[in-house]
Structure formats: C-alpha cells, structure tokens
Assembly symmetry: C2
Homo-oligomer: 256 residues x 2
C-alpha cells in the first residue's frame, strides 16, 4: 500500500511547538503536507476569509514532505490545502496539537476543531489533538503514543460518515495516563469576566476573559476522563439539529 497522504494544520500558527510535534509523529506514518496559518488563530472558530484575498507561501518542498503557510484561518488552510496545494483530497487530516483544551464547550470556539470539521464535511477522515497545557513550553512528548494509536486506527478503520474525532490529552505532571476513553462532550460554559480599562484618553475598553464552569460530572464525559488522567476521544459531527426538540416545537401550532 502507498503511504497515506496526511494534511496537517492547526490554529496556533506554523511555528507553534504543538504543530512541530504533530508533524514529526505524522512523518512516521505517511507523506505529510502542512498548510498552517502564518500566525496564531486561536478563537477563530469556523471563520472563513471572504473579504480579502488569500495567499499561500511555500516553505519546504521535499519528497514525502511539504510545508506551506497561509494568511487565512484554519478552515481556509483546509480548503487551500485540498484545492490549491494538493489539488485532491488527502487520506487524513490532523489538526493541532493545540496548546490548551478543546474539550466540552471549547469545541465551539476552537479553530483547531473547525479545521477538523471542515475536512469532515468534505468526507476526509479527520482528527483534532489538544494538550491541556497552554504554555508555549508544554511537554508534548508523552502525547506521541496516543496520537499515533488514534491516527493509525482512523487510517485502518475509517470513521463513520460525517463523524470526526476531538482528542484531548491531560497534563499528568509525572503521573501515568490510564488509557483512552471514548466519551461525549460535557456540559460546560465560559462565564465572561470582562477586564474593564480606560485608555490614555479616558475612553473605556474591554479585554475578554472568562472563567470555565463545568455544569455536570457525568462519568461518560470528556471532562471526567481528562480529570481522571484518561485521553478523551469525542466523536463529533456537523449536524447541529436538536432532533429530540422537533416534536416539542411542533406542539406550538405555529400555523394556527
């Protein structure tokens, strides 16, 4: 069998240590093409660039390894990677390793997971990896084994149609990771705490900050798994329909 072609991206930007680490792992599995944002794009979610032109810069082009930066978002990187760089679909897309959690509600704000969902919409098996350590000096080494097992399983088994994976890895601080748990997204939210300041002209401005609030402790959730030193794997899809609510809302007799 030919080596699988793996498209790699992230939202922390082309120079992020987490991306470099993911590239090295993927190069042991297949032919790697990196298309990643020039600079940090965290919190960009599923945004796309429609009001300004996109550019792609070649950084490395060798046999079995290519690397490009792009002035767009993670979702733009996936679109450009497929249509302009590869000119065909890769066998796998991986995104990350993100510096910080994309578990529970973080999935909705995440550029890392947006890239994964975009590839999934296009029918490409795709996985997002995140380490629960925001530091630029985070130790990604102990992620290797788990990233590799999960990527190889996705290549071997495929994924159900319309499903991608959100993988989060706990910071264990010397303890051992207990294994991998397939979970559901925990209920949680960010409580905004704006940092209110005045500029030198005495005009108000605000920095967005927040406090993470867990809203449940279900043992089948990603938050529980991570707190208990498991790698969490949540199968994610892009059907946002709350199917169970259709019947309820139909009772309103909107057409009376």
């Amino acid at each position: 069998m030919n080596k699988p072609i793996i498209l790699v991206t992230n939202d922390d930007g082309i120079n992020a240590p987490g991306l470099r680490h993911l590239i090295n792992i993927m190069r042991t599995i297949g032919k790697v093409v990196v298309v990643a944002p020039q600079s940090t794009m965290s919190g960009t979610a599923h945004s796309i660039t429609v009001r300004s032109p996109l550019r792609v810069e070649e950084i490395v082009k060798e046999k079995d390894y290519e690397e490009y930066s792009c002035n767009g978002t993670p979702v733009d990187c996936v679109k450009l990677g497929e249509q302009i760089v590869l000119r065909h679909k890769p066998d796998l897309l991986v995104s990350g390793i993100n510096h910080g959690s994309n578990a529970s509600i973080n999935v909705i704000y995440s550029g890392t997971m947006a890239a994964v969902l975009e590839a999934c919409i296009d029918g490409i098996p795709s996985i997002g990896f995140s380490l629960l350590d925001y530091s630029s000096k985070a130790d990604f080494r102990y992620c290797d084994e788990y990233v590799k097992i999960i990527a190889e399983n996705v290549i071997k088994n495929g994924l159900p149609s319309g499903v991608c994976l959100n993988v989060n890895i706990p910071t264990v601080n010397g303890a051992e990771i207990k294994g991998i748990k397939v979970c559901r997204q925990a209920k949680s939210k960010w409580v905004e705490e704006f940092d209110e300041r005045k500029d030198p002209r005495q005009k108000d401005y605000y920095w967005l900050t927040g406090r993470f609030e867990r809203l449940e402790n279900g043992k089948d959730t990603d938050e529980w798994a991570l707190e208990n030193n498991y790698v969490s794997v949540v199968p994610v899809h892009f059907d946002f329909t709350a199917h169970y609510a259709i019947e309820d809302i139909n009772k309103w007799k909107l057409n009376a």
Copy 2:
C-alpha cells in the same frame, strides 16, 4: 407583565437593512437593546476577540430603546451586551435578519447563528432569522408576520434547555409563503472554487468562492421546506457529540 427585554444583534453590521427591519419588529414586542458589529462580519462563525481590546459605542439611549455598536464579532456582541451593556441576561436574543441563507451546512459558517448559539449556551432563549436574498435591497417586509409569530411563541413557551432556533425565510417572488415547518438541517456542503489571480508583482493570490451542493432531498429538511415556500425552523444545539458513533469507536480496542 413587564415588557420583555430583547437583545438584538446580527453579523451584517449595525447599518444592515435586515437588522433595521428586525429592530422595528422587536420594538412592537418589548424593550429593545441593540449591540451589533460596526461593520460586516459574515463568515466569522463563532470567533471571539481575544488578542485585541473591545470597544462599545453608544448610538441611541432612550426609554425602551438603546443601540450600541461594537468593534468585535457577533459572539463578542452577545457577551458585551449581557455583561457590559445590560449587566444582566435579556429575556430573548434575536439575530439577523441575515442577508442570505443560514439553512443546512451554512449554520456552521454563520456569525448570525453563532450569536444565537452563544446566547443559548448562557441559557437565554434565542432565535436567528435569515432571508434567502443576499441583495442589500432585499424586501424584508413579508418576513414580519413570521418573525413575530416565532418570537412571541418563544417568549410564551420558552425553549427546551440547550436548544435555540435557526429560522430561514424563502424568497417567494410574489408567491405566497405556505406556512412554517419545523425541520432538521439538510445534508449539504460548499464545493470550493478558488478564483486564482496574479497581483501586479506576478504573485499568486486566491479569492474564496464556492458552489452550494445539496446532498439529499429529505422532505423533513430545511432545504426542502424553503424550496417549497415554507419558512424553516430548525431547533439547534451545541452538543456536537455524534452519540451514535461512540459504540462503533469503542470496538477499536484503543487500549489493547
């Protein structure tokens, strides 16, 4: 009963005709507070502004009506509206009326619907409205009846916990709207068609364009409803877990 407090936002910006129209309808129902982006923010999805400061500018402050613009995204507008402008939760959040469809896969790219989901995460009943006409001269008048019926029903009945509504209104071109249908999100995708150009220095650049592709014709979908001159109402949630896939992936024996 006191007038409900309604927070209004959009992603086309504070001056968009669709927003003006929605404000006028909401003023017949309650006390209205508008917090909308200074300029167009379509395609920003669920992005948040974390790397630059946010500002809020007061435009109108009357009894029962206030209007503010903000330099952030639609999601920032919801957070600032709650925490800085109102300093409490509104009774309802509405977003739109968007110039163009947010049906089917468009929900994932939509700033309009991101604002709605953000309010939903915070437990606020919330609705996004979109008209299937991208023109700045779109005729929003015939939306009034449906926007009002749906908003009043949400105020009266509430919404199931963690559920918000994605409402799309067809362009009927003189024909009659047949009624309102509660639907699921249709399977569809955008097929990228980058417009490849050279700048005056002969360097490549790309404009993101695309072609919408419907992947099914189920009669219980929003796309079917809209094509058949119904207003579509999709209950949407922020649990992205593909629950049905958990069992499948557990068969992989990732911990072998």
